[in-house]
Assembly symmetry: C2
Homo-oligomer: 439 residues x 2
Amino acid sequence: MNVVLLSGGSGKRLWPLSNDVRSKQFIKMFRNENGGYDSMVQRVYRQITRVDSEASVTIATSKKQVSAIKNQLGDKVSICVEPERRDTFPAIALAAAFLHDQKGVGEDEAIVVCPVDPYVDDSYFSALKSLCALAEAGTSNLTLMGIEPTYPSEKYGYILPEGTGEVSKVKTFKEKPDVETAKRYLAQGAVWNGGVFAFRLGYLLKCAHEQIHFTDYQDLFLHYGEQKKISFDYAVVEHEPNVQMMRYTGRWKDLGTWNTFAEAMDAPVIGNAVLNETCHNTNVINELNLPILCMGCKDMVIAASNDGILVSEKEQSSYIKPFVDQMEQQVMYAEKSWGSFTVLDIQDGSMTIKIVLQPGHRLNYHSHDHRDEVWTVMSGAGTAVLDGVEQAVKPGDVVRMAAACKHTVIAGKEGMQILEVQLGKEISVHDKHKYPFPR
Amino acid sequence: MNVVLLSGGSGKRLWPLSNDVRSKQFIKMFRNENGGYDSMVQRVYRQITRVDSEASVTIATSKKQVSAIKNQLGDKVSICVEPERRDTFPAIALAAAFLHDQKGVGEDEAIVVCPVDPYVDDSYFSALKSLCALAEAGTSNLTLMGIEPTYPSEKYGYILPEGTGEVSKVKTFKEKPDVETAKRYLAQGAVWNGGVFAFRLGYLLKCAHEQIHFTDYQDLFLHYGEQKKISFDYAVVEHEPNVQMMRYTGRWKDLGTWNTFAEAMDAPVIGNAVLNETCHNTNVINELNLPILCMGCKDMVIAASNDGILVSEKEQSSYIKPFVDQMEQQVMYAEKSWGSFTVLDIQDGSMTIKIVLQPGHRLNYHSHDHRDEVWTVMSGAGTAVLDGVEQAVKPGDVVRMAAACKHTVIAGKEGMQILEVQLGKEISVHDKHKYPFPR
């Protein structure tokens, strides 16, 4: 099947584990078979390939997330990069054009679009396969996934089916009604819209061309910023008369707050933490290299990363956003396509960073106007390139780069760990010129 | 007056702010006039000199604490170093010999001995002055401080006075009785022993020579390790018939647990932390360079340092010790006589440390057998010395030391911040040879 995963969100609600460059879907929280931890996006990818080993997966996302996706999934998925954020209709239109023009998917082939972060069982992905088959059969233009509702939420779209069977034509569709309307819909047997859309690629390209003026993928990509911000539900689903839906009754959760996130954890503790026997219903995720000791904690979530430390009652944790908005968002840790960096120390006039390079990977070739830098190789061997001149480096070696010096380093087959000291009056992430790699 | 402050304790009960090398008396928690924070030992020293600007203060302590004392109090106090821990009687005997032989204090002069960390008002130190005057008058051999008891504690010594006046002869003294005995004592009008002893120096030297075979301070210092571990209460107070006591009724608290420590804090938060409006009776001390966000925390104490993070209900926090005993005690931060160090990163084969040197101070001149080191100067200028050769260093300069190279660095008048990367298979604090400074 052809799956398009929509990967959005900046994820302040799961601070300090999510930040401007790390959305919640990249937090490693699920124990995997190797004793390590997988993120939501890794879990979902694994679930898809377990259900369909031939599945072709495309992730539609913003530039910011490309590094994290490549770092976590490698080259196993295609990435359709949105030049900027324009809501789900332009994103799905761009993905459709990408699949058609770049990946050669035929107009009769079925595509299923779903969020990148549903917390679900494998049966959900079996259902996606069924949705694709229904879409390919062509009896309806659009096939949705109906979720058994539990309360009259204002957050979801509502689908009113014609029948009570597993698959049914849709009578009415209503995006995010108020509570009273939602109650009326529920009384009539409505279900929630799971945010999953299956269709033939040709159908979606036709819808896209009707609403957006573009020739092909490249053209849409170039003019993406001019598109109106509108969701797929408002732009397409509400206006399409020929829609069907399939019910899904398995586990389905949105891990959007610490409260729900903690419920989904396989164990109460991830990382270095001890809870004494008087703790109750308390979860700890510790990404720091320090022990956490919890005593007498009741119904709490404690999360620690290089961005900060959250100590919150679970209920209260859903009110986190305004507090995080007020915090200075110096990014202290980020995954990059080549590995990761961690800020270790910030002083007036200097900043110290730990760089971890994956085997065979390299930094961008770049220079700075206003700062000198010093590298000390902590582990692994590789090749540093300074103003075009290569030199082999090994643990204990020191490389000094004055301002304006073009530089990069390429890790050998073991990867590398490098300590970088930045020195200068104005240290800023924006002080960076990139150049083509000279090799 | 001559004051001897007994500074003991390894302070695991206030983990992670106290550790093997930082006892609780060195934690900076009291707001001072300069907008910074003072430690207990700084506060006590300030209180003593406010009551008696001519006071001569000697701190009796172990080797481990000398660096922290010098860093916090400079050369304003004398330090009588116990070569190892032998309880209070040998410690007071050593201090007496130190005052007599090294400081030239006369045998008729009064000495008052008290703990380094009482949380008290200035009136306590006025009381110490009165105790000295009583001791010097010579009507009794020993003068104690009596504290109004609040419950039949098994932790304290009990003094049964002959009268009910402010100063009174002591009928009986009993160290740490069981609860039943304590109740009986209280019914008879006993008071707690405040751990303060005033006497003429000559009296104590006589007691010391009766129980310990030594000629002078140097001799006792050299044979200190052979002495029996016994408290001053058991060795002297219980056997002395001619004892008097003076009542003290002002504030008197032992900040031995997080619960009492939090009560003494001037403000609920020290360091970078935000408590939302649903928090109640919660204290945060954050020594880390990361924000802490607390939501819905009730009756809690949260303490974070480079050694770890404690999140505890206040009541529970008194049970901390066994958990801390189990933790690996890699010291991540320590005050030294020359400044401080902070461990930033530990890897297999490398360790990264930030060194802060006070103006004009220097590291010991030393070498390592099994590791190479690289310094990157982050701020300040100074002089590095490598195998006897001096070189000026400034921000951005890099100094490399192979194993066996003797090295030190001397900070200029602004102090220095240096990043040190240690590289080797076996990195240990014990891999260190010290040498006399070659200048």
